[in-house]
Amino acid sequence: MAAPSGASGPAAATPGQPQARHGVRIFLIWLVASAICDPLIWFVAGPHMPPGAMSSSAVSQRFDITVLAVMSAPVVLGVFIYFGYALVVWRQRDGDQEDGPPIHGNARVCATWVAVSFALVLGVFAFGMVQLVVPAGAGAGEGPAPIWKPGGGAPLQVQVIAQQWIFTYRYPQYGGMETPQLVLPQGQNVQFNVTSLDVVHSFWAYQLGVKSDANPGVNNIAYTRPERLGRFHVECAELCGMLHGAMTGNGYVVTAARFQSWAASSQARLAPVTKTLPPYAATYDPTVIPQLGKALTSLGINGAGGGFYGPQVPAQP
């Protein structure tokens, strides 16, 4: 208990040399470690940070993640170094049964901690806001009424239709053709209009740094501008049923000229199919698709009664 504590160690009431020595040591170790770690993160890891440099959103996200890593590394190092120092220096020696100094708190330390963490948080917030607004929404889905749009001319419209368990893409500027291939031109703003026909999916174009949830009856808009040629990976990022894990694919960024020729030839090739599709719209209600509607009505399935969600084909949990 408290009895012999009067004789235990240096009096804690008066801050003296021993305490300052510990503080200085910890600070110096932390300074050196951060000075090593942060440049390593920025120069060595930075160029390889995900999601890469394939599009404007990807570049800004890579910068964003690298900056966050550079800011958090000293915080993590600070706590670990302090803990490590404490465990080495301030261990209870064998046979020592006495208590430590009765330090209940230190108003200055606490106030400094609160102020510094507040400043850091506001700084991270301001940085995040800039990184969100400037790259036109940072590739994230903004809903049907986006407020951060890219400048520089009308973007290419690509509608992403998600259904269990495949993504298809409609290009309204090319006759509303629907294709399972995603091809984008380099250097032009792209507007993804993401919607779903059944359950909630999420369109994640990894190397493009675009993620936008696909909700039934909702048009979720995301922007990006592909900068580099190549192939990117498309995944579904929201659990949508049995084959969610297989709902993946590839997309391609090609030169503007190649894109034009691909679009024209696909439009021509798919013209007979496009005629049978419902007209291009921001969202689709599968229960009222005119061509399908007759079939559904003849089966006795109409809007009310929950008929759209059964029978269970394919059977899934």
Binding site: A86, D96, I103, V109, V121, V200, N215, P286
Partner: protein, 665 residues
Amino acid sequence: MAIGTEPATAQRPGGNEPAGLRRARPWWMRPAVHTALIGAVAGYLFGHWLGNFLASGYQQVKHADINDTPIVLGYVFGTVGWLAGLGVFNDLLRQMAGRPAAGRDRAADGGLARYFRYSLDHKVVGIQYLIGMIVYFLTGGLFALAIRVELLSPAYHVLSPSAYLMVVGEHGTMMMMMMSSVIVGPFGNYFVPLMIGAKRVAFPRVEALSFWLTPAAFIILLSGVLFGGFPTGWTGYATLSVQAGLGMDSYAVAFGLMGLSIILAGCNIIVTVISYRAPGMRWSRLPVFVWSMVATSFLMVVAAPVLVGGMYMILTDRTAQTAFFTGTLGGSSYLYENLFWFFGHPDVYILALPGFGIVAEIIPVFCRKPLFGYRVAAACMIGVTLLSFLVWQHHLFDSGINPDMRPLFMLTTELISIPTGFIYLVAMGTFWQAKIRLTVPMLFALGMYINFLIGGISGIFLSDIPADTTEHGSFFVMAHFHYTIMGGLIFAFMGGIYYWLPKMTGIKLNETLGKIHFYTMFVFFNSTFLPLFAIGLMGQPRRVFEYQRQLQTLNDWVSVSAFLLAGSILIFVINFVWSTVIARHPEARDPWRSRGLEWQVPSPPPAENFARIPQVLSAPYEYGVPGAPPVADLDPGCRAGRAAPGRLMRQGHKRFLGAPDEERR
């Protein structure tokens, strides 16, 4: 002082109703788990029949050829039967009939049998919860191992896609659902009265009910496996949850029951702490663990009703043909997302705050110093509680919510890191010039701090909307919450077990096995979950059974580590069973030399906790303070010659009892 020193009624565990003279019936005639099972089966059969009777004619049922209503009503009535079989309603029905309630446990209830009954002693409920939570944790862990086996290969090889999804959903739901009470249940219920100097909790029947709902929820959730499971994961997103097969009903009912359980547990703790504190137990002397229990309880009471509402809406969408979540019929899938996450985010603080409380309770004892910044620690709990209701849309950044809502939630999410960071200020201040003893509880507390730091910093990455575009829905999120929940909460839970089991049972856990457990668990936990950050950033989404080929090496490393982690938890189970059942080495009353009030009573505590309500004299963290009074006077009013117990003495206490190193007699 908030309350007088003479309580208006005598405080006895289980209530003051006259027990009367009752002949003890044989064990198999008294309500316990066996009668509960009979009640559950009878209730299920009745509910199933009722569901068929009500809903067979529905259009939805006829088209889909599946009827959810009998399953749902079967579960609901089965739970009612389970509770009735336990005797939960007996006192209520007696009082409605105008007869006195039977109330308290009889002294004849000794030994193991009372742990299988509806016991009104908070200590029995605490131990019931402890065993229950360990069982639920191990069950969820087995499902996790199945997930990792499947993820050894980039294509599906062991489990079919639907079986894999079933396993994923069962693992996540088992953990999130059952672990909401992992500390409040065992340690909150057991120690809050002891720590505040009370002989009982405010609502013992409510507390026991909150426990007995958990096995019902556990069995209902597991029974989903019989239906092929549910395809939505633990989040249960509409519209998939409306579309799903019968297993979805087990999820919704089980989660609803757990929601009910945590509301009840929270109510009980709040009222107990407000009303049952011993004289002298001011709010400024309350142990930090009790602060965390109160804060967690507020979260439970305010957030869980929203969950129950959401689950109820899923069930009516699936049975009664409502359209809350179906866009084409006037509802919205966003309604579910917002209802769920309005609960879901406070839920993760329900999981995190008790962990903070335990480690803040443990470190002063093993640093032999007062807790640094007690007010800061309390502010942490309060700040996190208040802010946690303002951040839920950070789960929905990419979902198409109104874009101008997102900066607000980015700000609030980043702001909540400030009170969360206070626990590090408190820890670092407590370590300053301390005398650190690396006992097993202290090791787990350190492990919690280290893991939670990594988890918390990754939370900053997730709160930043541009970075979240890549990280949302990927394994980065998985790594983040496993670090905070398993690395934080479960390490704190283990620390709490090693710290408090000597108090609860009077038996010590083997220290060598404990240290092996800690070091293996810490190493393998980090080797399992640290690579997941990289895997997520490299583009693997959550809940998938296939992934890109180049990620196989990392996934295999994680899977092997996961099995080694399971091995370390097996060491814990072996230690636990060996020490409590086989070796049973008795432990001193206060092996850690702690000043906590709960350590001043014998181990295990007597039925009434304290012979007299103690007079609390100081905070429990006054280590190293010269001339500090002991934490409480356990025999107030009896040493200066006054006859009446509990009277406040005017001339001060000359002889102190209850000092930590004295055997209390």
